[in-house]
Subunit: 346 residues, 2 copies
């Protein structure tokens, strides 16, 4: 909160000047924190997502120990898949598994649309509980996977190296692909609106795997759908952060897809990426998450490098280029928050 | 071979005009071909690499069925690791495994330099045998992994998702990292020279994983070493192709590292990448390998798109943005060769 009673994170999302650069971290609630691991020993990941008391506890864990400028609700990017009918499981170490992958026109036709308030209502409950616990200390971010990332998980059935099955659906059966994306987008808009209705003050869509595509594919098969979701969230009064990785060769297209804020990964210098999309476009990023595990003098040099490239322009939110990794020292994460606030305290 | 008795592939490497755009494919000898799979049922991958008769047979398999403009010697990008002392194994499905990964200063100090003629002489024998069999039908390309890709395999011990161990060696112990890269470069120069002495008419270095790095890391920890290798090969009279993936946000730095030809992946439009490095710089690429599995009309549209972006400028070699995948139909690969030659036949 700045001295005028507004959140510096939300001001930066609007491109307004702030007293310090706001900072939060993707996956700031997670395995690198001992209280999280203690809970995880007792409950499965999905149990934690679906139990508002647990999700609330986890969401607030980082805010108890560091001065981050936003909370992000504890959830998974793939939660909408389960009520759509594909199933969703998490195997230890192997990440998400989709038991009934979507491969044919018939599979896509059988996917169900979702009433998020009813079928994913636990997330609304978590958001309401977190907002109540936060009592105005920090703004709360809701989120989901982006249309491509959700659809590719459904088609591949889990993580993939080359996304061959997904790309071949685009190339061989574009109408099936578009129907899939259409259904996913409809669900996503409903799901993200539900999060705002419950109290989310900003939204982020994670397009974690869209960087497997060339710019031609992105433009033809992804952009119209992602834009539809982002356009569909306008009028809710909350900023939408469009985050993607591996997309530094097509930032112009990402910009066309929209987003009040564009989130970059670490594969591009922040100033060069920002220049490409225009300095009046708020941006978020972009420290390599691995740097957090390096010795503190290295961390400091690299944090300062990102901030030097941001050059104090309004509309920068400091973050990593992807989520915090499991073996990251908590002290380093805390130190980065302070480094950002100290460097930008003007 | 063009009508003047010179190879159009080599002419394109020098930026000279050609009668048709030359085309070859990374991993054009491999599992997508039945004769390869038949051999693989009888011999291990490393046996095939190390037995000149087998390597020669495999190298020539694609040339027997399609009109590619170059052969590439059958080998693995990681072959130099074994004589350096880390070991090298291939597990079914999981890719390369390095039994004795390099983690400490002491590990790096114990790495051995290599006399390629003696310790990797089987590859020289294969190259001589292929040259003899080819009898001037097509030029032969030798290759290796690039310094980063070799070093990261040594440090990680196999494939990696985030390359945390490698990056942390750079950040925590840069002198250890530089010593490792220094040894790898010394071995690489010797190894690639040996290939030219044996008859390789062009060289390609594969930096398959360097796209995990941001441009700052590339510039500081990789570029000087890669440049040293490429500079060290000058004067051999053969072109060097510098191929990397995931590097579209730092093509300027890749260009600084050098290479008579720069190889791009599919994550960037060919014309935009080419413009960045200058149209007088020969380039290679860049169809998404998955496209080869699509229906032929889609393949044709995408091949033509790459060629349209190349715009008939001298110095374009058609290739994929990465290697041919296992389930690619041979007929589609053959068809692409013909599409390229037909489209560019002026």
């Amino acid at each position: 909160m700045d001295k005028n009673g507004d959140f510096r994170f939300l001001k930066a999302c609007r491109g307004e000047p702030v007293d310090r650069t706001p900072v939060w971290f993707m996956r700031q609630a997670g395995r690198y924190m001992k209280p999280y691991r203690d809970l995880k020993a007792k409950y499965s990941f999905l149990e934690m997502c679906k139990t508002p008391e647990l999700a609330t506890e986890v969401t607030l864990q980082p805010l108890g120990v560091m001065d981050v400028d936003a909370a992000i609700i504890f959830a998974d990017i793939l939660l909408p898949l389960e009520p759509m009918g594909t199933g969703l499981e998490f195997s230890a170490g192997d990440g998400p598994v989709i038991p009934r992958p979507v491969r044919s026109r018939k599979d896509v036709e059988q996917l169900r649309l979702v009433n998020s308030e009813e079928q994913l209502g636990f997330l609304g409950d978590s958001i309401r509980m977190v907002r109540s616990e936060l009592a105005g200390r920090a703004p709360l971010i809701g989120f989901s996977g982006a249309p491509f990332t959700l659809s590719s998980y459904m088609v591949e059935g889990g993580k993939s190296r080359d996304f061959a099955t997904t790309k071949l659906m685009m190339y061989e059966a574009p109408e099936t692909w578009n129907l899939l994306m259409d259904k996913v987008c409809t669900v996503l808009i409903d799901y993200l609106k539900m999060q705002v209705m419950a109290g989310a003050q900003a939204l982020q869509i994670f397009d974690s795997w869209v960087g497997c595509l060339g710019p031609g594919d992105y433009e033809e098969y992804i952009l119209p759908h992602t834009r539809r979701v982002i356009d569909g969230l306008k009028g809710l009064g909350v900023p939408v952060i469009n985050f993607s990785t591996g997309t530094s060769s097509m930032l112009g297209l990402i910009h066309q897809a929209g987003g009040d804020v564009l989130g970059f990964d670490w594969r591009v210098h922040l100033d060069e990426a920002w220049k490409q999309v225009g300095f009046n476009q708020p941006v978020q990023g972009n420290l390599d998450p691995i740097v957090l595990m390096a010795p503190l003098p290295v961390v400091k040099r690299r944090v300062h490098d990102v901030l030097r490239r941001a050059a104090g322009r309004p509309g920068h939110i400091f973050n990593l280029g992807h989520g915090i990794l499991q073996h990251t020292p908590v002290d380093h994460v805390k130190a980065v928050v302070d480094m950002v606030h100290e460097y930008t305290h003007g």
